[in-house]
Symmetry: D2
């Protein structure tokens, strides 16, 4: 805790001062030692790292291949039981810049979860907000506060903070999907609460749609039994049919010369809480983007971090200036302020989630968009 | 303007005072005359009427029969042209208590509008908020800011304040529907603005769904091209298929023992602005209620006024203690604080709109619900 | 209720139609008669009056002189008791355009209230929002929910909806002040509730400041015992010392070349609810304006109505193009969309209140400002 | 990055599974190695630490003595220049549990800043939100966006995110004060932006009150030139006179039997943004608490972290069950969910700031209060 050199960053002007004499240097070292002993640290030796002119995230851009993720999850399925204690057979993306923590970005957890045929992940609840996104397969139901929610390809499924939830696979075949949570943020802010539920799920029914959808997933309609606004969306499942239709309509409207897309050839929707029109959960934004064949996006920087999964198609993404070919199931991370561009010849469907609600609700959001 | 007697209402205690002598009475009369001459009026002669203990609306409960409304509209169709100047062939419900004004309630306009085969109601815009509700027929398109919106049975259609709009009938057959507006309120608050548009409609296309629906009517999904919240809903048409499905699901959930309805056998949805989850327009609430056969509602009083139209089925409504049999197309008014109950043997579908957002946004809302 | 002529307003284009034959005219008259009998009224005969291109308020600009108001109030003090039944010795300004109703504007009540030495106005409460503004005198306490609030020159005092309140004069001298309420609006919307309290006041103490001020009137400080936002301001009295200082500082800052005033020589503050920063009550805005000697305002039109009282100084106000000399105590009304300008050689302090929160909260606000 | 043991926490039930055979264990180790190589980490080995049943902050309760802080700051004043590069002579409290980072809590920076006679800390701005609190001394002006703000004992002073600010000491005597910022949070979320300003301050005037106060610090009054709500409070200085008066009034009201304090003998105010009534800055809450002689607080746990400074008096605080005697100038930290109680015989004035707005705005807030 005793700093002895000035770590001032290169983008900061030199502190214009006469070099200290040997006596002065010794006195300064003694002062720093005293500070260390008293749990004090000077700003002037730290400011370059602490307060750079623009974000210098420790997290780095990185791509994980579905062809790597899935076999490892399958092997874990053979070797590791699912059940009380470990709770879930989920394997997190660990950002190479974050020192071995199971964090995709400083705030976000992203994992592949795997449930074998007829397995059950027991119920629990926690203050962390969670969602699932399904890139392939079906046959698992997530039970959220007693409401069974079928999981199918393309669906975006919520288990917001403090809702009991478990998963059970009703088929002979395994199923894998993506989990997204704010575990790192909740851990960092020391706001975690966790409670165990029953060892199986509270309702083993397997309806095609959840009760939450039957009550809430009607466009522009709100049940009179649900007039109090809620912090989290009451919709447990955002179905692929609706997402796909919304994106297709935006591109069709663009073809008709109507304003509908965010930029040429780029359709996008945000998943929202119908009681407020805002993000589905207070810490996590989730969106779906579709690029038509031949389209490319502007280059964007955000003071926020995002995780993407390719849902369909293939293309090239540029992360901080480095290009990566990506295809179905591949996942990648865009840390704060890293320039991001996507381009595709064949068409590209991208699911993304991010921590934008955090910076927006706290007055820290900035975005920079550069169009070619 | 010279009041000479005390109009104190019966629910107010007598003003305990010695009766005035003749000289005093004369002096008082002279004072009142002076006040009148100076455009002044005392509170004490007015307070009983002005500030009763509970609302004493001038508007009265009243039922208009569809079997009366439609033939009159048809005759107007023969005799009165539609076009610039009169603007619309709309005939308003005039509450018998409101002194011959074309007002259904002090704040709300409700009318039957009629458009003959191939007629066009020219474009205009105004600060008044408007909607249409279709109890029968089809073949007319409302064009809202250039977006053609098909009108079909059961649809609820918006033309919010300051949006250009016109109507055109593409068929040989006439069509009639209900208009709801805040004309009386806007007139009362002197906030009216009006502008003429072109004499025909700006887009004569006849698509089955509007562009606004293609962009916005996807449950829980918000286009990234529409992230700014809007005062009015961006959805131009709330389709019957969705409303019907939402109500049917609530009753099915009730059958399964799940909380979903507002009370036993009574399903209900509110039409909302997807950018906020709130009412579709700042002055008008719109809802759809379904009573299953044999159901009845609690008795409700609201410090707000409502207009209902029976969409389907038949039943009995009690308005201030008087019962009325009502069937498809019939309309009725529930003034402020008048007790309202509905009951049905055969099943009853009710569309209602009201001025509840006014009292709620201004801190004046009160509701009293009495269950049997 | 049977309209026989077209009242289309001059700002509306003529309805281009062939003049009806005698037979057609007779048939039309018969139709109108049928409508009348069925409580129906056509839009096309009413639209010119109902929906003009800009507001055409029935209310007219008008000036009431303090030199007229006060003597009439004094005579009422001699002739009319104050007490249960009449409740208050208040005499309303009746706008000459509003047909003999005791309304300053369609939405607002403005009155002079007069309380003789040692008189008591008994306690009551009502859904109507009320305030007092004191142009001269002192010695009366308003007791709001048991909190005695001294009334002194320049003070702005709140008795928001549903707060019990009474007044008592602790001196030998009478006192007169201004009452402002939303009585017409609450009457119009049928949202009135009224309840009698005790015949005297609940606390006869006469402290110089109220408990509400001691708890709430500290700049930028909120008591931890009051963290729930309230619809109405919890501050019962906005004292003249603070208002005067705030205005003086704005002009001093302007003298120093700093942005502070709304326009050159024109300082202004709004009275606000410290729990939200918004208007003191949901239906009424209140402000204080100070013009330095030689200053004049821009010409403003608002889709809202206001009442002013000259607190000090003298000047000329232009209401809809007509100029009026005004001095201390004089009151005047600016109906919706009527152009308003003020100018002063000697300096002018103006208190104003208005119904702007109504149009703003309901999406109906418009303002037009014309600078010379 | 290759976990080899199960770190499940003691509050989590044992994962009931048959112990692996040697072959299985080897296979599992190989799988973990593969995961490590692919930047993947399993949840089941981490969940105990990541998601405990209640917060287990790494930060620990700690007390820093003013008698230690001030001499170290004085020595730094002799040995370390203030100026461009180091920017500020500020020495941070480094929580012993946070691994040598200059963080008082995971989210908050707290430091003592020291400015010698006639020294200048140059202007800069940054996305980090900052405030100053003065426990002793005077003679320095903070210049915020060109507005000189005098600093005096008891004052709470804001320099919100992206406002240029510098400090200059106009006296011969040094001055020390407390800085509070969200540096750790902004660093963690990678939302830092920083810009240098001029090397001196932009306005060297030394007025007793700032222009921001002259415009904004009037209770319940809002300038019409400032009607747009702002994310941060526009008040640059909350003066001790007002804070002291507000607290004294609460205790006086308590003496009169009126509700005013948060609990018996415990007065408290929150510093708020007058445009919204909410916290002064989006990430930082600031409050002042006064315990009268003999009073003690309830025991409180919050899912949020706080830093306190004793402003006056002395007493005993209990942090996680350990008692500490504290007196004027002493600072201490209460990490998330650590039980906190204060008690005093002589009377105790406490300034506190915390990150509560973060958990509240993000739906993660929890509080537990235990009264004796």
């Amino acid at each position: 805790m005793t700093p002895t050199s000035n770590s001032t960053a290169p983008d900061r002007p030199a502190n214009v001062m006469t070099p200290p004499t040997a006596a002065e240097a010794a006195e300064l070292d003694a002062l720093y030692a005293r500070m260390g002993a008293e749990n004090m640290i000077p700003l002037w030796t730290e400011i370059g790292d602490l307060m750079p002119q623009t974000p210098r995230p420790a997290a780095v851009p990185h791509v994980w291949r579905w062809s790597t993720l899935l076999p490892i999850a399958e092997d874990a399925g053979r070797l590791v039981p699912v059940g009380r204690g470990g709770e879930r057979r989920a394997i997190a993306l660990a950002n190479p810049g974050l020192g071995g923590r199971p964090y995709a970005t400083p705030t976000l957890w992203a994992a592949i979860q795997y449930l074998g045929g007829h397995e059950v992940a027991p119920e629990h609840r926690h203050s962390q907000n969670a969602f699932r996104f399904v890139v392939e397969g079906e046959g698992v139901w997530t039970v959220v506060n007693g409401d069974p929610v079928a999981m199918r390809r393309g669906d975006f499924l919520l288990t917001p903070g403090w809702n009991f939830h478990g998963h059970h696979n009703e088929t002979d075949a395994p199923m894998a999907w993506i989990d997204g949570l704010d575990i790192p943020f909740v851990h960092y802010t020391d706001t975690t609460f966790f409670e165990f539920g029953i060892d199986r799920v509270t309702d083993e029914a397997t309806p095609p749609v959840s009760r939450s959808e039957r009550l809430w997933a009607h466009p522009g309609l709100r049940p009179l039994s649900g007039l109090d606004d809620t912090v989290n969306s009451p919709i447990a499942a955002y179905r692929w049919e609706h997402t796909d239709a919304a994106l297709a309509e935006q591109l069709a409207l663009e073809d008709e010369g109507q304003p509908a897309t965010v930029e040429l050839g780029h359709a996008a929707v945000r998943f929202v809480n119908p009681t407020t029109g805002g993000d589905v959960m207070p810490t996590i934004r989730a969106e779906f983007h579709r690029l038509r064949p031949g389209a490319s996006t502007a280059t964007t920087r955000e003071a926020a971090s995002s995780v993407y999964q390719v849902f369909d198609g293939e293309g090239t993404v540029s992360l901080g200036g480095t290009e990566h070919r990506v295809g179905t199931g591949d996942m990648f991370v865009v840390p704060s302020w890293v320039p991001f561009t996507a381009q595709t010849d064949a068409g590209l469907d991208l699911f993304r989630f991010g921590d934008q609600p955090i910076s927006e609700r706290l007055g820290l959001a900035r975005t920079h968009v550069q169009r070619p």
